[in-house]
Symmetry: C2
Subunit: 199 residues, 2 copies
DNA sequence: GAAGCTATTGGACGAACGCCCAAGGAGTCA
DNA sequence: TGACTCCTTGGGCGTTCGTCCAATAGCTTC
């Protein structure tokens, strides 16, 4: 049942990263310990420092990896099958997919906070955020949005802020805030969206 | 120099709360320990559990107290002397007053996160947030804003989200995002603002 | 001055922490 | 079969954690 030698280690490494991403959301970044992490991953405590050179390094990699995964599934670069839905609707749909106090949502907030105390993490997160913002800005620009970059930045910040507030105010559903956020989208401004998609 | 007996304790209590509010922002909620807290406050470690029944209770009280203070000074119920400035400008001015990675800003985010793991804190924070939201909604309604409550909720969430993102993207100044956020404010909708302020 | 009270000190307690390492299991190749 | 490599185990190291407490200081009231 055991995999090949060079693969066995990779599997444990992966399990540790997955467990870390969950525990960051459950306990908070600074409250994830090597022992609970190993126990959650179902491995011996010593393995943590065999596969990773330190706990902060593990948490960094776990957060970045998990966040890339969530973003890839929540906001695919090209909209899924069935044609392109409204940009804002697609953007807001994640609000109903995550409650604001689940490990997935909290991982993002915890990572933002940890980045203020870890320069390396901050650089990686800044790149990730810029990537998301640029992708959103491009789709907004296609639709003729005025100031697409700033609008995208504000939309991204508003989304994370809504996650933050949603744990305290469950009324902040996509249906409730959608009409208000739609005011950010200008339709009178620039050029219309091109008829045929570039690619 | 020492104050009266019933006052001496109160002074130490206050110093502990102030130190805790700073340390929450600096180190993170779960990384504030009794010893560094006592050292920062300039008192013996044993005093922490003399004045507070547990560390979580101390952090809870420190966060709520400090947040009330920040909100009172950042957003007074009635605008300061010199007449009422634009609602959004006053609202956004705090963006330039806090950088996003200072203890003051981080305290808010840390408290939101801690609230997802502490029901008592969650209840208190929900009340605080509702208070801020209602005050903002009232001022928006005065100005004839459509959907003032939801608009206020979205504005408050966007502001906190901008703090969160600002540590990763320093371009998010009030001047940059102000024009975009202003789109949330509808001027065509409801009644005009009354000519004379009610009080 | 004695009694009584609150505030404060500094250290003890067991538990958990991050990190490290000697020892051994398990697979591959000569 | 023996050498070699990678992976895994379980516990030890010194430190720090939250909490508690006996002893003491400073003040108020008799």
């Amino acid at each position: 049942m055991a995999a090949q030698a060079p693969e066995r280690g990779g599997e444990v490494r992966r399990r540790l990263l997955e467990a870390a991403a969950l525990l960051i959301g459950e306990r908070g970044w600074t409250a994830v310990s090597t022992r609970v992490l190993a126990e959650r991953a179902g491995v011996a405590p010593g393995l943590v420092h065999y596969h990773f050179h330190s706990l902060p390094a593990l948490l960094r990699e776990a957060a970045i990896t998990a966040m890339r995964g969530v973003l890839a599934e929540a906001a695919p670069p090209r909209p899924g099958p069935g044609g392109a839905p409204d940009v804002l609707d697609a953007f807001l749909s994640v609000l109903d997919r995550y409650s604001g106090d689940d490990p997935g949502s909290l991982l993002f907030i915890e990572a933002y906070l940890a980045a203020t105390r870890d320069g390396e993490l901050r650089a990686e997160l800044a790149g990730l955020l810029a990537q998301v913002r640029d992708a959103l800005a491009a789709r907004l620009a296609e639709a003729g949005q005025a100031e697409p970059e700033t609008t995208a930045s504000v939309l991204a910040a508003a989304l994370d802020g809504l996650f933050l507030h949603r744990a305290l105010n469950p009324e902040l559903t996509a249906a409730a805030v959608g009409p208000v956020l739609r005011r950010l989208i200008t339709t009178d401004g620039g050029a219309e969206a091109p008829e045929g998609e570039p690619a």
